[in-house]
Every structure is written in structure tokens, then in C-alpha cells.
Amino acid sequence: MKRVSFSRATWLVAQKDLQLEWRTFDALAASVVFSIVVLLVFQFAVGGGPARQLSADALVPGVLWLAISFSAVVGIARSMDVERHGDTLAGLFRAPIDRSAIYAGKLIANGIRLALLEVVLVPLAMVFFNADLGGAWLELILVLAICSFGLSALGTLFGAIVSRVGRGEALLSTLLLPASTPLLLAGVSATGALFRGQSLTSVSRWLGLAAGFGLLYFFLALATFEYVLEE
């Protein structure tokens, strides 16, 4: 049998995941609805008293990253659940492709899912909490992209691990959220600076940290993913 190239295999895996998502909206719907629930509960939890004294630019970055990280857990767990129920990861493992291409493909699919979630979530959070970005949309997109890449890189690896032992969101959040502390701190700090009207250069080291952390985990996962899938 002809062996498929790495990039083609990556694309095929990503395409398969995205096609499945397009037909069912399973993981995306679950995580988007969940993220709105997080905004709602956050408003109940702190919105009544103390948060009224806080300005929107102090509140929104925190709320935003809280919602993004928890919804990412839900989305990744859902997408891995599908593979587990059909026992399709084993099929993917037997396919004549590079195992790390499976990781890369799933990473692309998870990244696109997370981006779509943010397209809905970010404007909603700004409307709900009355925040003003002052036109720094491109900068915000850059911050979201860098941190979401890291979150997806880590989440795809841990999601596969959790799906192998058949546990859902609880174990995934126990692994993913503490491990992605640097990403969340970078995300909150950089987003906060943008909402305060500061330029991106003031938070460049946070972005560097988030990008470096994401790349570190990306290569680590490429190297170890085959051990996760192995029968």
C-alpha cells in the first residue's frame, strides 16, 4: 500500500473531524452553549456585589478566559468521545499514516473548533459585561490565536490520553487546566492590557511565553502521540 505523506495525512484527519463536526455540530454546540452558561453563572457568582465596583476591563479578561478554558475542555472531551464510542482511534492507528499526523490533524480540527467558539463567545462577553475594546480587534485576535494554539496543542494530547482510559471532562480538566497555567496567565494579562488601551508591545513577553509554551507542547505531543494511540 502506498504511504501517504505527512501533510496529506494531517489534512485528511482534520477534514474527517471537521466534516463530522459540520454534519452533527456535536462538540461545537456543546461547548458554545456551555460557554454561555459560564458567563451566566459568573454573573450570578460575582456580578451582584463586588463586581459592580470593578470596571469592565478588569472583569472581562478573566471571565473570557474562564469561559474559553472550560468550554475548550467540554469541546475536546466531546470530540474524543465520538472516537471512543465508535472505537475509531484504533482504526486511525492502523491506517498507513504517520501517527503524529493524526495528532496534527486533530489539533487543526480542535483549533478551528476553538476559534469558532471564540467568534461567538468574545462579542457576547463584551456585550454582557459592557466592555469597550477601543478598536484593538486585530491585536485581540492575535492574542486569542496564540493562546488558543497552545490550549489546543495541550488539549489534543491530553484529550487522547483521557479518551484511552474512558474518562470524560473531569479527568481532562484536572490534567489540562493546571498544566496550561502559563497560557491562561498570558491570555488574561495580554487581554487585560488590550482592554486597558495599552499596546501589544507592553505584553510582548507574555505572548512570547505563550507561543513558546504552545510550540514546546506541540513538538512534545508530536513525539509522544504514537505511544498514546498504541494498542
Binding site: 484511552r164 490534567l175 493546571p178 512534545l220 505511544y227 498514546v228
Partner: protein, 228 residues
């Protein structure tokens, strides 16, 4: 038939039994009382070695995880499991002794500061690694997944610490180069004695847990052989 306790273990055990009282003596009697913090500062002679041993176990965990993935010998997995559990023990001790010191010294049990957060993150990730091991259907799968998590934990701890340090810092820097408030010689000696004692204890615990793991692994192999 291999002996359950080897000569090296017996030697380690005797040394540790001698070292622990020496460490207690050094920390409570030999070292002078610190001027501003008073007696509570003495917990430092245990707190710091606990933390160093936790990091030492992380290094053992990283090494054994990598070797297991390349060699696929379950002995390395036994070592990595031993390191995970001992690391969890020392990490927990750090998290217990830290607040006891922090309450009188900082006036608060807990603060969200770099080393505190990175130790807590390490603790949670170690628990998660043990959970994954427990949930896995079979030993090989659990060993492989735990090895992957072990490598990511080791990579994570350093970056987490750096990140939170940027975010905010408060932890006392004891070993900063050129620190004008460097330790009194007797304090340094007491710290080194405690460090040595904890190193012996840590090595002994990892070795004993490793040997226990070897016996469990062999027992399981025999059981499976009998089933066939």
C-alpha cells in the same frame, strides 16, 4: 531467588534511621533562633529539603518515563511509578509545612504566588497521573500514558513557575546570588544536614517502592502465565 531487601537498601535504611534524628537535632537544637521570625523559622530546615526532594523526584520521573518509552521494560515503569508517588508525598509535605510557616511570617496561610502555585499545579498533575494509571484497562497502556504525562509534567513545572513569577512574586529568595542577608554559617550547616537526611529518606522510599513494584509486576506476570 532475589532477597526482598538488598544490601544497598539495608545500608540506606540504617543511614536514614541515623540521619533523621541528626536532622531534628540540627534543626531544633544546633541552629540558632532566627532574630525576626523566631522559632517558627526552624520549619524552613524541613520545608526547603522537602521541596528539593520533590524536584529531585520529578527528575527521576522524567528520566524513567523517557527510558520506559524507548526500552519498554516494565522495570522503568515501576521506577517512574515510585518516583510519582514519592514526589506526591514530598509535594504534599511542602504544601503542609509552607502555610504553617506563612501564617506567622506573612500573616496569611496561603497567597497566590509563584512557587505556591507551581507546587500546587505539580501536586494536581501528579494526582492526575496516578488517576490515569489506575483507570487504564491494562498495565502497558497505563504505563505508556503515565510516561507521556510524566514527561509533560516535568516540562510544565518550570514554565509554570516562570509564568507565575512574572505575574507576581513574594516568596523569599533564599539562595539568590549576592543576597546580602545570606544565612548564618550554623543555619547553613543545619540546612545541609537536613537536606542530606531528606535525600537519604527520598532515595530509600523510591527504592523500596520500586522493589515493591517489581514484586507486584512479577506476581502479575506469574498470574497471567498460570491463566494461559
Amino acid at each position: 531467588m532475589q532477597r526482598i531487601v538488598s544490601r544497598l537498601d539495608a545500608l540506606l535504611l540504617i543511614l536514614t534511621i541515623g540521619a533523621i534524628p541528626t536532622a531534628l537535632w540540627a534543626a531544633f537544637l544546633y541552629a540558632p533562633t532566627e532574630q525576626t521570625m523566631g522559632a517558627v523559622q526552624r520549619i524552613f530546615y524541613f520545608h526547603v529539603p522537602f521541596a528539593v526532594m520533590a524536584y529531585f523526584s520529578v527528575v527521576v520521573l522524567l528520566g524513567s518515563s523517557i527510558v520506559y518509552l524507548s526500552k519498554r521494560n516494565l522495570a522503568w515503569d515501576d521506577l517512574s511509578r515510585a518516583a510519582t508517588e514519592v514526589c506526591l508525598l514530598f509535594c504534599t509535605l511542602v504544601l503542609i509545612t509552607g502555610p504553617i510557616w506563612a501564617k506567622p511570617a506573612w500573616g496569611t496561610w496561603w497567597t497566590w504566588e509563584a512557587r505556591l502555585i507551581s507546587t500546587l499545579v505539580l501536586e494536581i498533575l501528579l494526582i492526575a497521573a496516578l488517576m490515569v494509571r489506575r483507570y487504564a484497562d491494562n498495565r502497558d497502556l497505563g504505563a505508556r500514558l503515565a510516561a507521556v504525562i510524566g514527561i509533560t509534567i516535568a516540562a510544565d513545572v518550570y514554565v509554570v513557575h516562570k509564568a507565575v513569577e512574572w505575574w507576581r512574586g513574594m516568596h523569599p529568595e533564599v539562595f539568590k546570588a549576592g543576597n546580602p542577608r545570606s544565612l548564618e554559617p550554623r543555619m547553613t550547616a543545619a540546612l545541609l544536614i537536613c537536606m542530606g537526611a531528606m535525600f537519604l529518606l527520598c532515595t530509600l522510599l523510591i527504592r523500596l517502592r520500586y522493589r515493591m513494584g517489581r514484586i507486584e509486576t512479577r506476581g502479575e506476570a506469574l498470574r497471567l502465565e498460570n491463566l494461559d
